[in-house]
Symmetry: C2
Subunit: 527 residues, 2 copies
């Protein structure tokens, strides 16, 4: 029987609080003990990845307390309830089924009178068939010419995830002979965003994917109109250049304005939609359906690992619990995501939405205020770039920021150069290894300006190469981490009421129905 | 006589601490009083911009305390000492002269036996003359063909600032007939970064700008070798395709490997180098020297405003002091930078480096530990995109994050569309106005999940359009804000010792001179 309790109602949380500053990371990671930790504090993931937490402030005492917390919070039972179709999104009274887009983890889930796994698979197959026809030149522009570019129009979850995934696999696909079409993205209602993309593409050979679950997202419909204007001005028929990804009940679903429509539903939150047709259409068009299927397989395999009740065998759950320890016991306000992979340049921006929109909340799943801190600030940039930027604060600032590294031993593009006895890839990897140790152990210097206190915890996910499977596993890992943290904090991680008030006020501004400071600012901005 | 004192030694800081939670923002911004605040709490900037702080937790009491703090901390005198050539960078024993790249604020500064203003102007003129010759087809590739693309190779300050400035003006330049060459950037030592850029450009018509002050930056020299390999493999002579931006004493300065060399010096920190030749070469090549000169003029005008001792007439100083109040008195850990302008998409990443690398420190300018928090975490994405991402946490999360908005009433590209009675630009502006009010005043709802507490402070810089002058003013504003905060916290904002340890350890990894955990991680990464 599942019981939804606030974190501070769980006895294990009290015990965990007694373990504040329990591990001296500088000592733990020094010498051969450090090497032993690297070997032992490693949890295998899907697609050959491993989650390493040797440089976190963990020992067997803290891990045991985290295991007790996982058990008391019933994390595996709650996950099971979720993938078996319980109404986990209590605020909006919805099921939460994004895992079902990549695999069947539990019992069949029936909603809206259909088997939802069948529904998602059918939509994938529809998008795959469409993509194959585009690639084969069976679906073309009105002149019978092949489409060469796909442009996704969407914002938030319809933009950040798919864009990050596209960038993550672009070089890999080019190197592995499965690059089909270039993809671009229009998201911002700032007209300069659409103008810039439209000026840079070959409009007659561009296919647009309009993504809006409700079919009413202001930015997306505005950008659709922007694009349709441009197509018409170029003498092209918009209906021959556009597909829709939406819900079956939206006004877009059966419109003749689109070549095709692929469906998602209310059980896939925007920020969890990369593995639905929201990501599937554009990624299948860009790289082919086989690559998208491999991406889903990596995610499915990682989702299955998340069922394990033993936190040492469940990297997403362990990562989540370590994050709770760092946030609620150690009192750290933020987490930095630092992939040592240029291909993951926008992955931190996606995780920023995933995490902050899911768990940036002050009330529990029953709408009652909680008395502990919840989701941290998430930010990050790829390494080694970040080293030459904000790492100064991470090493020597007055706040401690836990770090989440990602690294691969091989590059994607297959081009490298040997300088001073090492390749660029080796230099990249040497830097991330060095950073972990610099953050953990620091270095004593008689000059306080050159002194490094250390004691700054980090984890790293290491893999061989960023393949479609590895990307799917990475995505699943973070989605499930956020989900488990939401369970621990007793939040509903699947609504986002915090974005509503701004929308309401913006409509009032556009209707010139304002007074006071809102009118004053509107006047200054010449609206 | 300047006296460098820690913040907690200043009597005004004690008084400021008594003003914690002094202003109820929800009440202050409501009704006609809110409109009055918008009118009164506005400080004019250069280039027609205005810094608005009505939605900050300010009133005349707090402002008076901040003015007292500015006076006691001798902020104007310290700024004067800086631009008149004092050794402000105590750690490295260097002058700090980036303001001199855009204007002469005080007395002549002589160093290395030359007038430094003359030196910087001469380098700008050299870069301008070179750019004009490239545009005129007087400097060409070996086949006598014009260069069409410029690629900057640099990292950290040689990348983030110039890249952000290029993106900020790209659409403006295209619309205003001064777009000369496309610019691209290679920064990361990850070989996939250079590979990706090289595959996407027209190599025979590309000119590379190698930027390294010391001429020894690992990433940059490695990427230079990467590019030279590619040029040679394409049958091209690297020396005909490359210029250097470096210091006069670096090994690159007089090398025959470059078509030309433009100089900066040790008095320009990397993160403050956008207005030196580090930004000047690539921006003059991309947009022409006249546009770069206009950018400098905007910065110079804003620098001059920063001399004002009255904080209400000195937006950079006021912004800095409000930030200190939020960080040290209110206890907020981070600041979000939220430009409602797609052109400023990478401006937050630049500010992240500028701020966190300058003030993310735990020791004062004399190397003594400080007992108060210093630089905050800085992050951000352009609006309206962020609204559909991390704003949930900003509105309803358990931590308060102060916000720094930027907005313009006109777009850059001159394309727009009218949907449902408003243009995209109007929708963009309506959203930022709405967000300010939603954050400040919130909204009471009987359903706690839909309740907005408000009380979340923000400022906004408003301008007519993002022109070169406006961009220069914006850049100067934030550089001077960070400088003034460094003065208040008694830090040396111009060194970055925190990045050194990682470099040392990475070298050891590449030399296979490791043991313990560092060796274990290196093995896992197959170095």
């Amino acid at each position: 029987m599942i019981s939804w309790k606030n974190l501070d109602m769980l006895p294990a949380y009290g015990k965990l609080n007694e373990l504040k500053n329990h591990v001296n990371l500088q000592e733990a990671m020094a010498g051969e003990n450090g090497a032993k930790r690297v070997k032992e504090y490693a949890a295998p993931m899907a697609a050959g990845l491993t989650y390493h937490y040797a440089a976190k402030q963990m020992d067997e005492d803290v891990l045991a307390a985290l295991q007790a917390l996982a058990d008391e919070a019933q994390l595996t039972a709650k996950y099971e309830a979720l993938y078996d179709g319980a109404v986990i999104n209590t605020g909006e009274k919805r099921l939460v089924l994004h895992q079902l887009t990549r695999g069947q983890l539990g019992t069949d889930v029936t909603a809206d009178s259909v088997n939802k796994r069948d529904f998602y698979v059918a939509q994938q197959q529809k998008a795959a068939a469409f993509a194959n026809k585009v690639h084969a030149g069976e679906i073309t522009n009105a002149a019978g010419e092949k489409f060469t570019t796909v442009v996704q129009i969407g914002i938030g979850g319809s933009d950040l995830g798919p864009r990050a995934m596209y960038l993550a696999l672009e070089n890999w696909a080019k190197q592995n002979g499965c690059f089909k079409m270039e993809a671009r993205f229009i998201s911002n209602v700032d007209p300069d965003d659409a103008a810039s993309v439209l000026k840079s593409i070959d409009l007659p050979h561009s296919l647009f994917v309009l993504v809006s679950k409700s079919g009413t997202t202001l930015e997306t419909l505005t950008n659709e109109a922007f694009v349709k204007d441009a197509l018409k001005n170029a003498g092209l028929d918009p209906a021959k250049h556009m597909v829709a990804v939406t819900s079956e009940t939206s006004p877009l679903a059966s419109s003749s304005d689109y070549l095709a429509a692929f469906f998602m539903d209310d059980y896939i939150g925007g920020r969890y939609s990369s593995t639905s047709c929201v990501g599937g259409a554009v990624l299948s068009l860009a790289f082919g359906p086989e690559v998208f299927a491999r991406f889903l397989n990596g995610a499915a395999e990682e989702d299955a690992l998340a069922k394990n009740a033993d936190i040492k065998q469940n990297p997403a759950m362990l990562d989540a619990l370590i994050g709770v320890y760092e946030r609620n016991v150690q009192g750290y306000p933020a987490t930095a995501v630092l992939p040592y992979s240029q291909a993951l340049s926008r992955f931190p921006a996606h995780l920023q939405q995933l995490d902050m929109e899911s768990n940036g909340k002050s009330v529990n799943r029953f709408g009652e205020p909680v008395s502990y801190v919840t989701g941290p600030i998430i930010f990050g940039e790829p390494g080694t770039n970040g080293q030459h930027s904000f790492y100064q604060l991470l090493h020597q600032g007055t706040d401690i920021v836990p770090l989440q590294f990602v690294g691969f031993s091989q590059n994607q593009a297959g081009m490298d150069v040997d300088i001073q006895g090492s390749t660029s890839q080796q230099k990249l990897c040497a830097n991330v290894a060095a950073q972990i140790m610099a953050f953990a152990c620091g270095k004593t210097d008689a000059n306080p300006n050159k002194n490094f206190a250390g004691g700054r915890p980090s984890s790293i996910i290491i893999g061989k190469q960023l393949t479609p499977e590895a990307l799917g596993a990475l995505l699943s890992h973070f989605e499930n981490k956020v989900m488990f943290q939401g369970f621990v904090w007793n939040l509903n991680s699947f609504d986002q009421e915090g974005v509503q008030l701004g929308k309401v006020l913006a409509k009032r501004v556009l209707a010139h129905d304002t007074d006071g400071a809102l009118k004053a600012f509107s006047d200054l901005l010449e609206i």
